[in-house]
């Protein structure tokens, strides 16, 4: 169906596994780190940590309100809890506890939300989560990150320990292919390593900017290569940190290319596209924006790769959307703000 990858032939390393391993790695030297899960130690890979540190792993059973309340309580005694469950159960079943117990009290609870977006495709709508970016962005004190692959995930997990206050990390089910070859390889085109809060340019280009988060970031890169062959020079920016959003990178992209396509595995309402739109509108810079995402509907049952293709989150879909806005005209007089 025009997608760049297939879930069954891809992963050498999943984001979930990267989380579990990175957590176990940093926990060796940091006794403050503990983990809490809600009967999903295996699915979220928190169990990798739990096998090595059984005394520091707490399973509350299938009880997400308790999950985040307990995490807040643990944090209040000086610990740094990583609380993991599926994204949909985190942000909606335990959402008030994340907001009131963790975020309002500025506690260093790290919410690890797996199976985000449509990545649990065949599980159906009850297990999809296309609302979390909007919900988590709107919670004061919260930092929101969505790594593009397993190595980015490992880097962000290691960095997030030092992020003050609550933190939300969304990954997929963990079957997606890799962008990078190693953690050391998680660098922008200038060689700067991935850093929470700083957008990461993965490819340079002059005609259009593709800003992506999460799993479709790799498809954005492939789309940009396809577009080169079609005579369009696209730069690709990995917006792994959705909040605080890198406003400078957005304005820079608007000034440079005047055309931005945002790509996210989320409802087009309230996520990356809207974050970019808000920055653009307030900047006064003229820019055409096209948002790729789920058009305010529940995703159907299906293989994730098919669903990504259906919603133009595939390389093919992204390239097509870019071509559509390449044809849109920008009036000459509106270029005056460039200086």
């Amino acid at each position: 169906m025009g997608t760049a990858w297939n879930a069954h032939d891809a992963n050498k390393m999943s984001s979930g596994k990267a989380f579990g391993q990175a957590l176990a790695e940093i926990a060796k030297d940091d006794p403050r780190i503990v983990a809490v899960t809600a009967d999903l130690a295996k699915s979220t890979n928190t169990g990798i940590f739990g096998e090595q540190f059984p005394d520091r792993m707490f399973n509350v059973g299938i009880a997400e309100q308790n999950l985040f309340g307990v995490a807040a309580g643990l944090a209040k005694t000086g610990l740094i809890p990583f609380a993991s469950t599926f994204a949909i159960f985190a942000c909606l079943r335990g959402g008030e506890q994340i907001r009131t117990d963790c975020a309002y009290q500025k506690l260093p609870v790290k919410v690890i939300a797996t199976h985000g977006g449509l990545s649990f495709g065949a599980a159906g709508t009850t297990h999809h989560c296309i609302e979390d970016f909007a919900i988590m962005r709107a919670i004061p004190n919260m930092t929101v990150c969505i790594p593009g692959d397993a190595y980015e995930c490992a880097c962000i997990i290691k960095q997030c320990v030092n992020v003050p206050g609550p933190f939300y990390l969304r990954v997929g089910r963990g079957m997606e292919p890799l962008i990078h070859e190693s953690e050391e390889d998680c660098k922008d085109i200038d060689g700067n390593p991935i850093k929470i809060g700083k957008a990461m340019k993965l490819k340079d280009g002059n005609d259009v900017t593709i800003m992506a988060v999460g799993i479709p970031t790799r498809d954005a890169l492939i789309a940009a290569e396809m577009l080169e062959e079609q005579g369009v020079s696209a730069q690709v920016i990995n917006m792994h940190t959705l909040k605080p959003v890198d406003e400078e990178a957005i304005i820079e992209a608007a000034v440079k290319t005047r055309r931005i396509v945002t790509v996210e595995e989320h409802n087009i309402i309230g996520g990356l596209g809207d974050a970019v739109a808000s920055v653009l509108a307030q900047s006064g810079k003229k820019c055409i924006l096209s948002k790729i995402g789920i058009p305010d509907e529940y995703g159907p049952i299906g293989k994730p790769e098919d669903l990504y293709a259906m919603y133009k989150l595939s390389s093919q879909g992204i390239a097509e959307t870019v071509q559509e806005i390449m044809g849109a005209e920008i009036e000459e007089e509106d270029w005056s703000d460039e200086d």
Binding site: V70, K76, G78, Y104
Partner: protein, 294 residues
């Protein structure tokens, strides 16, 4: 270890707290008086005898923790913190609910010195308390975590998620106090959504349950002594109280949940007289006052 303080001295503190609740409400124009009055005796027993805390060092790592899960009773909680030495009681009474104040209807641990958890949304205290108790145990800190919930609050399912975990993890450093004043906003709990047999429910969840008259200071003292000494798992004290107790016109009535006193200070002085007059038999009055619905 419990402080050396007599029941009579504790009763005098409870009188002082009740008067502070009335005066604070008067200054703030209105407040969650009913549940604050019902919880007053237990709060005094906790803060003046049992909780091992240092008001001069609120973040002291070894301290006992207290979570006022029924956060609308900040009206009793913040004054008792002030009486214990964390805050200036006059400043609390003057500023409660005022714009820009640290003291709102629900307590914020970021603003109120000595407050261990921000509460207000019901059903959040027990999960946090379970996490605290587990965190203290992991770090080998020998301290208690006391959570006070309302009884209507027990209708929130999250309490039972936490109760299940507390017993499963055998958290013998956790004490759950249910202020069983038998009324919630819309009327008697047993009419709105029945809780009984509450003692059997908490016991079935794995708690050692102690049921007492929570407006009788001697009974509060005895129950807390037993709870502090218990080592086999979590303890639940069902503290049977009367909503609005100490206010002759309101006690036992569901309408005491949130009330205003008159515009003149004279309108509250008869309450002070009643509270003073019943320093020693408030528990008896509580036991004899029927719960009144609509």
């Amino acid at each position: 270890m419990a402080n050396n303080i007599s029941i009579d001295e504790l009763k005098a503190k409870a009188v002082e707290l009740r008067k502070n609740i009335v005066e604070t409400t008067f200054n703030a124009s209105s407040g969650h008086v009913g549940g604050s009055m019902s919880a007053a005796d237990m709060l005094v027993a906790l803060y003046f005898k049992y909780l091992n805390v240092k008001p001069e060092d609120p973040e002291w790592k070894e301290r006992d923790r207290f979570i006022m899960s029924k956060g609308h009773c900040a009206l009793a909680y913040v004054p008792v913190l002030a009486m214990r030495g964390y805050l200036d009681i006059e400043e609390v009474k003057a500023n409660f609910n005022k714009t820009g104040s640290a003291y709102g209807m629900h307590p914020s641990c970021l603003l109120v010195r000595g407050c261990d958890a921000s509460t207000g949304s019901l059903g959040h205290g027990m999960p946090m308390g379970v996490g605290m108790a587990q965190g203290l145990r992991l770090q080998k800190i020998d301290a208690k975590v006391v959570v006070m919930t309302g009884d209507g609050e027990c209708q929130e399912g999250s309490n039972w998620e936490a109760a299940m975990a507390a017993a499963h993890w055998k958290l013998n450093n956790l004490i759950w106090i249910i202020d069983r004043n038998r009324l919630e906003i819309d009327g008697p709990t047993e009419e709105v959504m029945g809780l009984e047999p509450l003692d059997k429910k908490v016991e079935a969840f794995g708690f050692h349950c102690i049921k007492i008259n929570g407006n009788d200071m001697a009974e509060c003292d005895k129950a807390l002594a037993e709870a502090w000494a218990y080592k086999d798992g979590p303890v639940c004290i069902i503290s049977v109280t009367t909503k609005g107790i100490g206010l002759e016109d309101y006690q036992g009535k569901y309408t005491s949940h949130y009330i205003s006193f008159g515009a003149s200070h004279k309108d509250i002085e008869h309450h002070f007289d009643y509270i003073d007059a019943h320093k020693d038999d408030i528990g008896k009055i509580s036991a004899e006052t029927p719960v009144q619905g609509k």
